[in-house]
């Protein structure tokens, strides 16, 4: 393999264009004041030489790298990769590059990720924490940080109307004639989970019976308390705190010989990609991920530029009817 050519510096450009370093800098950055002829001449020489600016060097001077970090808990979950895609796009349009890290649901990786990013001098971090817990307290004081979904005191967070979303899911089930509805939440110490569950439970209780209310990790693999609740057969419909959990519920129900949606209706939350391609296309509650990602990046830019923070915008949720829910059947004539 041939050696890489030596990189052209601004000094090289200045020399080749026969101007001062400052003028070269002005031309490249569109700052200072320069005659039109000189400016375009410098730009042309830079182009010819194949000059590329050295952003590390600029960062040393200005303290701004033009890079941001994105820290999410699980790249295995399409919900997060979709989010990542949206954040990357929004950042790109704002002229930023993004360091992406998957913390693999590990708090120590979360800490490590923040340290690395701060060492690299990112201008800000978009963070989807594992839990509603600031595992990186010291770091979040060092760098502008904006959360998505989770709630941590002192940190701005971009959120959707989770309570209304839960309500929507419950109302959908109730409208379908279900009266015994079970709930499988994600971890309840996470506010966004608690809110959607509370919203659903209130609606369920107002119109029928809450068959059960259990919790599960963010995973398709169901814990014993959950499988027990489902297999008891007290519910004709289930609301899950997350699409991933909903998929787990469907899989488990099918393993029990239950047909979805004929024997059991299931509603998820989040509208993760591929949920509609699943063995049973998932009925779910959507939120505007693209908009939320955009807002997260915008909010971060505001903080970076020390402009006034936004005013707790809350994004609307909506129900997406697909194949995993159906009208409750008549009581069996046993």
């Amino acid at each position: 393999m041939d050696d890489l050519p030596k990189r052209i510096t601004l000094k090289d450009v200045a020399r080749a264009a026969d101007v001062s370093l400052a003028s070269a800098s002005y031309a490249i950055n569109g700052t200072g004041s320069l005659g039109e002829a000189v400016r375009s001449h410098i730009l042309r020489t830079a182009e010819n030489l194949g000059y590329r600016r050295n952003l590390s060097a600029r960062a040393v001077r200005t303290g701004k790298t033009g890079a941001i970090g994105l820290v999410v808990p699980d790249f295995t979950n399409p919900f997060f990769t979709h989010l990542a895609q949206s954040v990357m796009r929004a950042a790109r349009l704002a002229g930023y590059c993004v360091f992406v890290t998957d913390t693999e649901e590990s708090e120590s990786l979360e800490r490590e990720a923040f340290k690395r990013m701060i060492d690299r001098g990112v201008d800000g971090i978009v963070w989807f924490p594992i839990r509603d817990v600031n595992t990186v307290e010291a770091q979040t004081r060092m760098v502008p940080t904006v959360l998505i979904d989770r709630s941590i005191s002192g940190l701005e967070s971009i959120q959707a109307d989770y309570a209304r979303g839960g309500e929507l899911a419950a109302e959908h089930l109730i409208g379908l004639g279900h009266s015994r509805i079970g709930v499988v939440a994600g971890p309840r110490d996470i506010l966004s989970q608690k809110q959607r569950i509370d919203g659903a439970v209130a609606a369920i209780k107002a119109a029928g019976t809450l068959a059960f209310s259990v919790s599960n990790a963010f995973s398709m693999d169901l814990e014993p308390s959950v499988t027990k609740a489902i297999s008891a057969g007290k519910a004709t419909a289930i609301f899950a705190g997350t699409d991933l959990i909903a998929l787990g519920v469907i899989r488990y129900a099918q393993s029990l010989g239950l047909r979805v949606p004929d024997d059991l209706s299931v509603v998820g939350f989040g509208d993760m990609p591929w949920g509609q391609m699943a063995s049973v296309p998932l009925t779910t509650v959507e939120m505007p991920i693209d908009d939320m990602a955009q807002e997260a990046v915008d909010a971060l830019m505001r903080r970076i530029d020390q402009r006034e923070p936004s005013h707790g915008k809350v994004f609307a949720t909506g129900l997406i009817r697909r194949g995993s829910t159906a009208a409750a059947r008549m009581v069996k004539i046993a």
Copy 2:
């Protein structure tokens, strides 16, 4: 929001520890030679002060940022996000951070991505090009680059045994009793596609009839030539160049009233995540993505360190039998 605290520099550490800047640097980096007492004293002071090294500044001096870039064509495809996850993990373990970009199948975004990354001074780039075409010729001369899957002359590429994979798929179908097999390739100007298709076609022709051989973009949406071929009903089984295409074939077949696998068997390629959760769990050809990602990062490190390149390792493919293939049915007694 409170202002960010001023960042502690190495100079601050040196002053606080009452040593020279050089000693502080030696201590932090474990370079130079320092008395044990002095070294640990400096380290302790740095820790107490909450010192974090400024990698931009280091990069200006050393020319190495400790960051690499990852450029992939489509973050909407779980295959690529899985790959990204593996690359990110391998990079993290090697002490690198990674700038991720989704080029959204656009050559201009591909070019833009490379420019941005070079401006940021990445030490190397792992690149999954859109096509077997070097859209960034000038850039790949500036920065060590390693490809995955695609073939571009002059660039090292990490690949699997695609030909054997295609053969495996065909043999599976033949073993199931299928004799009229159709093929839906991805774009044929991509070598890795051509190889898997050629592998499959050779096996098919040796044992039966190639019902048709058409191409489609990397998408679930099928083009007219493809839908026409499928709806003609000449094949009892289809090999698709990619899982995404396979899923599109299944969807289209079902829309035609065909049952998969009863009326039509379908094999994909790539073993993308969620393929097994699809309405019909996808039979497919797998390749060891984690290992390939690791090798890509290793190969990149070798190039960065100017060590000898590796010797064209080729990764093995294997067949994963799932629900989208079944034994060919007896000829209808019409």
